[in-house]
Every structure is written in structure tokens, then in C-alpha cells.
């Protein structure tokens, strides 16, 4: 049957439904596009024949192929769109710099899109909240205190806080830090929020 390749693309995303980004399936997309090209050419010649020689019996087949074309189009669009949703989520979960193993899973157009998205978001954040702008990726949960107790889960190197002090984030060390400084590191799994 037609359109088996395109449904494979969709299944690939559905298997990892928690929002992780699988590698861009360039080969799969190419195969779908090739199938579409073949379908289109076949249809074109059948349409000409149906018109020129009055063979209206060809019409059901033409319609069937046309349905397949539309179906392939839908699958590819949905595949690309769902990936964009995932990429957008990465900006919020990881911050503006993605780990290389994730960047590796994106195609060049997606990387470009991610950069554009980053820029739009940054522009927006600069435009709200007065002079300094407002980081809307901060304080996803309402803060209760300015400082929080955190423990390092892995070596992260040196880290500078507001007053210029530099602290060393070493595995298993515990610190009392400004909340807004470490929120992102917690989300990335470098620090752990310790509650007494």
C-alpha cells in the first residue's frame, strides 16, 4: 500500500511521546517525497489520457492516488510541525544553549528556526517590564524566598553570583544561592533544590 513510509515517520514520534526529539529522519522524508513524485507523475499522465481519449474509467484510480498524495502531505506536515513543537519546548526546558547531542538531532532548517525563535523570545522579553526587560522563563513556580539551599549533583565549575563572589560548584557540595540564579541549573539537573 502507499503511504507506509509516511506513517512510519509519525509512529517514530509517537513512540517517544514525552517530548524528546528523535533524530531528523531525512531518509524517511526523502522516500515519502519520492513516492509523492511518482504518484503525481502517474496521475498526470492518466489525467491527460482520461481527457484526451475520454477514458473516464481511469478516474477512480486517479482519485485514489490523489488521496494518497494528500495523505503523504498531511503526514509530512504533521511530522515537521510536531518536531517544531518539541524544539520550542527545548528552549524552555534547557535554556538558550542546547547540549550538542540534541543539536545533532536537528536538521539545518530546524536549527535556523530555533535560532529565530530564540531571537523572537529575547526581543519580546526585552520589550516588556520596563528598562531591563523581564525574563519570562524565570519563576515558573511562584518564589517563596530570594535565596534557596541547593546541592550540586555534578561538577559544574566556577559560578559567579550577583555580588561578584565566585563559588565552585563541586559535586555534593551545598550552597545557599539566589533563587533566580540557580533556577535554570536546577531545571537542567546540575543542582538539586534542598528543602528542610
Amino acid at each position: 500500500m502507499f503511504c507506509e513510509k509516511s506513517i512510519e515517520l509519525i509512529r517514530e514520534l509517537q513512540r517517544i511521546s514525552d517530548g524528546q526529539l528523535p533524530a531528523f529522519n531525512e531518509d524517511g522524508i526523502r522516500q515519502v517525497l519520492e513516492e509523492m513524485k511518482a504518484l503525481y507523475e502517474q496521475n498526470q499522465s492518466d489525467v491527460n489520457e482520461a481527457k484526451g481519449e475520454g477514458r473516464s474509467d481511469l478516474i477512480p484510480s486517479i482519485k485514489l492516488r490523489h488521496c494518497c498524495l494528500l495523505r503523504n502531505q498531511r503526514c509530512v506536515t504533521a511530522y515537521l510541525y510536531d518536531r517544531l513543537l518539541r524544539i520550542r519546548a527545548l528552549r524552555w526546558e534547557y535554556g538558550s544553549v542546547l547540549p550538542p547531542n540534541i543539536r545533532f538531532h536537528m536538521c539545518s532548517e530546524e536549527l535556523q528556526w530555533f535560532n529565530q525563535y530564540k531571537k523572537s523570545l529575547a526581543n519580546f522579553m526585552r520589550s516588556v517590564g520596563g528598562e531591563e526587560g523581564l525574563d519570562i522563563t524565570q519563576d515558573m513556580k511562584p518564589p517563596k524566598s530570594l535565596y534557596i539551599e541547593v546541592r550540586c549533583l555534578k561538577d559544574h565549575g566556577e559560578f559567579e553570583i550577583d555580588d561578584g563572589t565566585i563559588i565552585l560548584l563541586k559535586k555534593n557540595s551545598q550552597h545557599f544561592l539566589p533563587r533566580w540564579k540557580c533556577e535554570q541549573l536546577i531545571r537542567q539537573g546540575v543542582l538539586e533544590h534542598v528543602m528542610s
Binding site: 506513517i7 509517537q14 484510480s61 485514489l64 504533521a78 510536531d82 520550542r88 537542567q188 539537573g189 533544590h193
Partner: protein, 211 residues
């Protein structure tokens, strides 16, 4: 748990399909028993049982829902679609008797979705199908809701096993609500946690290394 920033395109409601929803695309890939009502020239290779160049009139085929929907016309019969077994009279009485004992995952897994889609094809049984779907859902909903609200920190796989896709989504939502409520009660609502996405990535990286 924490709010997820990845929200997939939700599936359509009722008879509508959502164009970009992955769930709906997989739903419309379900195969329906059907019969061709006219000749399809030059497509014989799609039907493995014959060597002929064309698909003959009256061939029985399993067509995916999307194709059946595309080819189906009220005025000109190109294909006729049969009801899948689970929506027929016999099964409907089973569902009527006790909807909670049926394993909808095995029957579906898109029992409700596919059932609603079947209403696109003119069939005299349509009102009964719609009624059966609704009654089945009503009959099972209470149990789904109850279990999703009361199972805390336990293995839910036995409960989820027999649920249809739609019910699974509802179950998951209930569980998320229960978990965040429990978190709030314990005063952990303001606890900052690592993103689940990040954690899952790390898990996968570990297995990648082991492989």
C-alpha cells in the same frame, strides 16, 4: 508533576479529525474491511491476491480509514465500507451488558475514535453505533476516574492496560492532578525540580552508552 512545555496537538473531538494531530493520523490508519464497487485500472499491484493489472470490481480489501474516507461518496458508489466487528450488533450487545469488562485496548485501541469516524459512512445502523459508543463511555468513565484519583505511588499498568486511547489520556490527566495535589499537601509545591525532559534524555544517554 511540573508543567510540561511540550504539548502535542490534541486529537479532534467527535467526528472531526485534527489535521496535525499525531493521534488522529494513527487513528485514520486503522484498516476497515471494504469492497470495491468499480474497476481501479493500473493499481493491481496494491492487491496481492491477483496478478491482474487492475483492481477488479467487487474485490474485498482492507482499506485504511483515510483512504476509505477519501474515496467514499454518497452519490457514486466507488467503495462500500463494512462495519468492523466490534461495532456490529453482536458486540454492541456485549458492550451494553457490561462495558467495564471489555478490553478496549485490544479491540481498538481507538475504539471511540474509530467508532465516531464510522459515522461518516452512511449506514442505517449509525444511530445505534453512536448510542453504543456513548453508553460504553458513560459506563466505563466512573471507574476510570475513580482509579485515576485514588491510585497514588503505585503501579498503574494493570489499570491502564484495558483502557482505550481516549481513556488513557483522561487517566493520565487525573493522575497528574492527584500528584500535584499530593505535592501541595506535603508542602512541596514550591520545590524546584529538574525538567522531566532533561532527566529522560539523561536516562537515554546512559542506555546509549551501555549499548
Amino acid at each position: 508533576m511540573d508543567s510540561q512545555s511540550y504539548l502535542p496537538v490534541p486529537p479532534g473531538v467527535g467526528m472531526e479529525e485534527n489535521f496535525l494531530s499525531l493521534d488522529d493520523i494513527l487513528l485514520s490508519h486503522e484498516r476497515l474491511p471494504s469492497r470495491t464497487e468499480c474497476l481501479f485500472p493500473r493499481l493491481g499491484f496494491l492487491e496481492k491476491s491477483t496478478d491482474s493489472q487492475d483492481i477488479q470490481e467487487g474485490t474485498k480489501m482492507e482499506l485504511p480509514l483515510w483512504l476509505a474516507k477519501g474515496l467514499y461518496e454518497r452519490k457514486r458508489r466507488v467503495v462500500s465500507i463494512e462495519l468492523p466487528k466490534v461495532y456490529r450488533e453482536g458486540w454492541r450487545t456485549v458492550f451494553n451488558a457490561d462495558p467495564t469488562v471489555v478490553d478496549l485496548h485490544k479491540m481498538g485501541p481507538y475504539y471511540y475514535g474509530l467508532g465516531s469516524q464510522m459515522l461518516h459512512f452512511d449506514s442505517p445502523e449509525n444511530p445505534e453505533i453512536a448510542q453504543a459508543l456513548l453508553q460504553t463511555f458513560i459506563g466505563r468513565f466512573r471507574r476510570t476516574m475513580d482509579s485515576s484519583q485514588n491510585v497514588y505511588n503505585e503501579d498503574t499498568s494493570a489499570l491502564v492496560d484495558r483502557l482505550d486511547c481516549l481513556e488513557r489520556v483522561l487517566f493520565k490527566m487525573g493522575q497528574r492532578g492527584l500528584n500535584s495535589f499530593q505535592g501541595w499537601e506535603k508542602g512541596r509545591a514550591s520545590h524546584l525540580t529538574a525538567s522531566t525532559l532533561v532527566l529522560n534524555y539523561r536516562k537515554r544517554k546512559m542506555t546509549d552508552l551501555q549499548a
